[in-house]
């Protein structure tokens, strides 16, 4: 049945009432009693630039998959504000544990679109050195990363370090046992962590009401820490709320759940067909709440940017997209023999034996040639 991701009545009411918003869909600033943000002009333009670039790169990656250059891509279209707002709130010493759609947060950590594409090209299952960016490898098994993040945060706490950890999940992830356990652990140990829940309304084909009967941010209260629902298409609100939650974590006040109320404009992945389960009207409705468009209007109205500058950002995004395409089609690897390299950190006789078998079977040249 094709349908709208119809929230329960309670959820809709809560959405209007409790949603933290600092920038309306028409681009007007609104005040919020608990969260303030006075971005500098540079900061506001920077957020816009980030969002435009990652959207353009996302389009490019999606077409690269269609052209057979990537095995898969998980599009983030629609979630740019949620990811850029949260990502730009992180300090260099903070550590983030993403899922598999967080290309926007990765971008904020200095990971290039090319690096983000590596696992989708299947030249690796990772993509970067997590310690170089304080950003873990993509986590595909839903919920696992949340517990790993809490453990890391317990380590930060044990070190007495003043940094925070972020862990990402979605509306579907909220049904996983690991996520519930992560909430328990973080709560009882008061771990310095921010749980970023991007509620994009769809877990592949299942709408949010298949995961919950109450607004998801309200679950935090039951675990003993605050939950906040933010307009996930408002980059200012996302930045303000995430900064506050990270500061709270750093000062030792424990975890926060941020529910970024947003929408997955595209398919779950390039293997998905959303026309089978959701209606166009819903997508159109969310188009009117577009994260980039509202900031564009705001920047123009407040004269923080003009059309010429916006055109220059579009051009920069084109350059990034082109660079991604050029890099992806050239991307080679791994070599067959390299699969044995990092099974274990220390020598392992069976791995050595099987490496030798492959080498004998394929010969050094073939075994050592990147695919």
């Amino acid at each position: 049945m094709v349908r709208a991701a119809k929230a329960t009545r309670e959820e809709s009411a809560a959405a209007d009432e409790d949603l933290v918003q600092l920038l309306t869909p028409s681009g007007e600033r609104v005040a919020h009693a608990a969260y303030a943000l006075e971005p500098t002009d540079d900061e506001a333009r920077g957020l816009f630039r980030d969002m435009v670039i990652i959207r353009r790169v996302d389009v490019e990656a999606t077409s690269l998959q269609r052209q057979g250059q990537l095995a898969l891509w998980a599009p983030l279209r629609g979630q740019e504000a949620a990811q850029i707002g949260a990502g730009r709130a992180l300090e260099p010493d903070d550590f983030c544990f993403p899922g598999y759609r967080e290309h926007g947060i990765a971008w904020c950590r200095g990971i290039t679109p090319e690096q983000s594409a590596r696992s989708f090209r299947q030249v690796t299952n990772g993509g970067w050195d997590p310690y170089a960016y304080n950003y873990a490898d993509p986590s595909i098994v839903i919920g696992n990363n949340m517990l790993n993040a809490v453990g890391y945060a317990m380590g930060v706490q044990h070190d007495g370090a003043e940094s925070a950890v972020m862990a990402c999940t979605g509306d579907g992830g909220m049904s996983q046992g690991d996520v519930a356990e992560a909430f328990v652990w973080a709560s009882v140990f008061q771990a310095p962590i921010v749980f970023l829940l991007q509620n994009n309304h769809w877990a592949i084909s299942e709408p949010t009401d298949r995961q919950t009967r109450i607004p998801l941010y309200k679950r935090a209260e039951g675990f003993g820490f605050p939950g906040v629902r933010v307009d996930g298409n408002d980059v200012f609100a996302m930045l303000a709320v995430t900064r506050a939650a990270l500061a709270r974590a750093r000062e030792g006040s424990g975890p926060t759940l941020i529910e970024a109320f947003t929408y997955r404009m595209g398919a779950h992945t390039t293997s998905d067909d959303p026309t089978r389960y959701r209606v166009d009207e819903e997508v159109e409705e969310w188009t009117r709440r577009d994260p980039i468009e509202r900031l564009r209007r705001h920047l123009l109205a407040t004269k923080v940017a003009d059309e010429g500058w916006i055109a220059s950002v579009d051009e920069e995004a084109e350059t990034q997209a082109r660079a991604l395409r050029e890099a992806v089609v050239e991307m080679r690897g791994p070599t067959p023999i390299s699969i044995f390299d990092h099974v274990y950190a220390e020598p392992h006789p069976l791995v050595d034996e099987e490496r030798a078998q492959m080498l004998e079977l394929l010969g050094a040249e073939e075994a050592g040639s990147p695919k």
């Binding site: 990772g126 310690y131 696992n144 517990l147 890391y152 317990m154 044990h158 652990w185 220390e346 791995v351």
Partner: protein
């Protein structure tokens, strides 16, 4: 040399590891004040504090999942799963994260964590408290699986597991916790992944690990009375397997029996039999024979004696090997 029980020897090994390296943390259910349900962590929280000996919430995936994060942060977490049959909620973390993160990160991340699990039957327990899940873990590339059978190995192998830069599943034979033996704290008896010959013999090789080693030694005693000389090999490491040690023995004896408490189908015995057949085909006078648990859920413990490999079943298998 000090005489200790296996439980106390592991406790002492944990203590030494914690003294040697401040990055070693313990976590698990009831491991603090209670000292664990088998007292393996007895008094460690008192001496090292509750920040290093952490009573965790009740959730096995949480115990292992947070261990992963602690290890990424640079710690060496040693977690305890209270009983074998409770490890399955953590299976996802073990297979999807613990075993794969080193490879996924192309070597950048190391996970030097140890998951201690009391395992095996023979203590008259209720359901879920007597299982032998080693094959699940041994089947998973990225994990290492070891099991001590003596107090000396308990002391040293837990220390060596903690020092290992790879994740180690540390299986403690719970029915041997209270057996005493000499512990030589001066130097380790062997590398962590090396097998040990527990008894030399010439007519057949008995291979076992953990709780079954002692059963094999008893069977060897009984067989000696019947004029058969059995060599008993304690694998100590289940993954990797010290195939060389077993092959050396089998080339000498010509017969191979493998004993474990886990069901035989798809178990470690099958792996050992296959590898040794490939390697020592022309030395074998009989096919390798497995003696293990039956293909049933672990039974009510009133009949566990009949379910587990015991001396009679081993001697019966031995007869079959000689009849060939």
């Amino acid at each position: 040399m000090t005489e200790r029980t296996l439980a106390k020897a592991i406790n002492e090994g944990l203590r030494k590891a914690m003294e040697a390296d401040p990055k070693v943390l313990l976590l698990g259910e009831d491991i603090g004040k209670l000292g664990g349900v088998f007292r393996v962590t007895d008094a460690l929280q008192k001496d090292f504090g509750d920040a290093r000996v952490i009573d965790s919430p009740l959730g096995e995936s949480g115990i292992v999942g947070t261990s992963v994060g602690l290890a990424i942060r640079g710690y060496r977490p040693v977690s305890e799963i209270q009983f074998d049959g409770f490890v399955y909620p953590a299976f996802d973390q073990l297979v999807s994260q613990v075993a794969k993160q080193h490879a996924r990160s192309e070597g950048a991340i190391r996970l030097p964590l140890v998951v201690r699990i009391p395992y095996g039957g023979g203590i008259g327990a209720v359901e879920h408290h007597s299982e032998s899940p080693e094959a699940y873990f041994a089947h998973t590339p990225g994990l290492r699986v070891v099991s001590p059978s003596t107090p000396n190995d308990g002391y040293w192998m837990v220390r060596q597991s903690i020092e290992c830069d790879d994740p180690v599943i540390f299986l403690e034979p719970k029915c041997r916790y209270w057996e005493k033996g000499e512990v030589d704290e001066a130097s380790p008896p062997a590398g962590l992944f090396e097998a040990a010959v527990r008894r030399e013999g010439t007519d057949a090789t008995l291979v076992a690990y953990g709780p079954s080693v002692r059963t094999c030694l008893k069977a060897a005693d009984a067989a000696a009375g019947e004029g058969r000389s059995l060599e008993v090999i304690d694998l100590r490491s289940i993954s990797p397997l010290d195939v060389d040690a077993v092959a050396t023995s089998v080339e000498k004896t010509g017969r191979l029996l493998i004993a474990h408490e886990a069901p035989t189908f798809g178990g470690m015995g099958a792996e050992i039999a296959a590898r040794l057949t490939e390697r020592c085909f022309f030395s074998l006078s009989a096919p390798p024979i497995r003696v293990g648990g039956y293909h049933t859920p672990y039974p009510p413990s009133r009949v566990e004696e009949e379910y587990l490999p015991n001396v009679d079943r081993l001697l019966d298998a031995l007869d079959r090997a000689f009849e060939f």
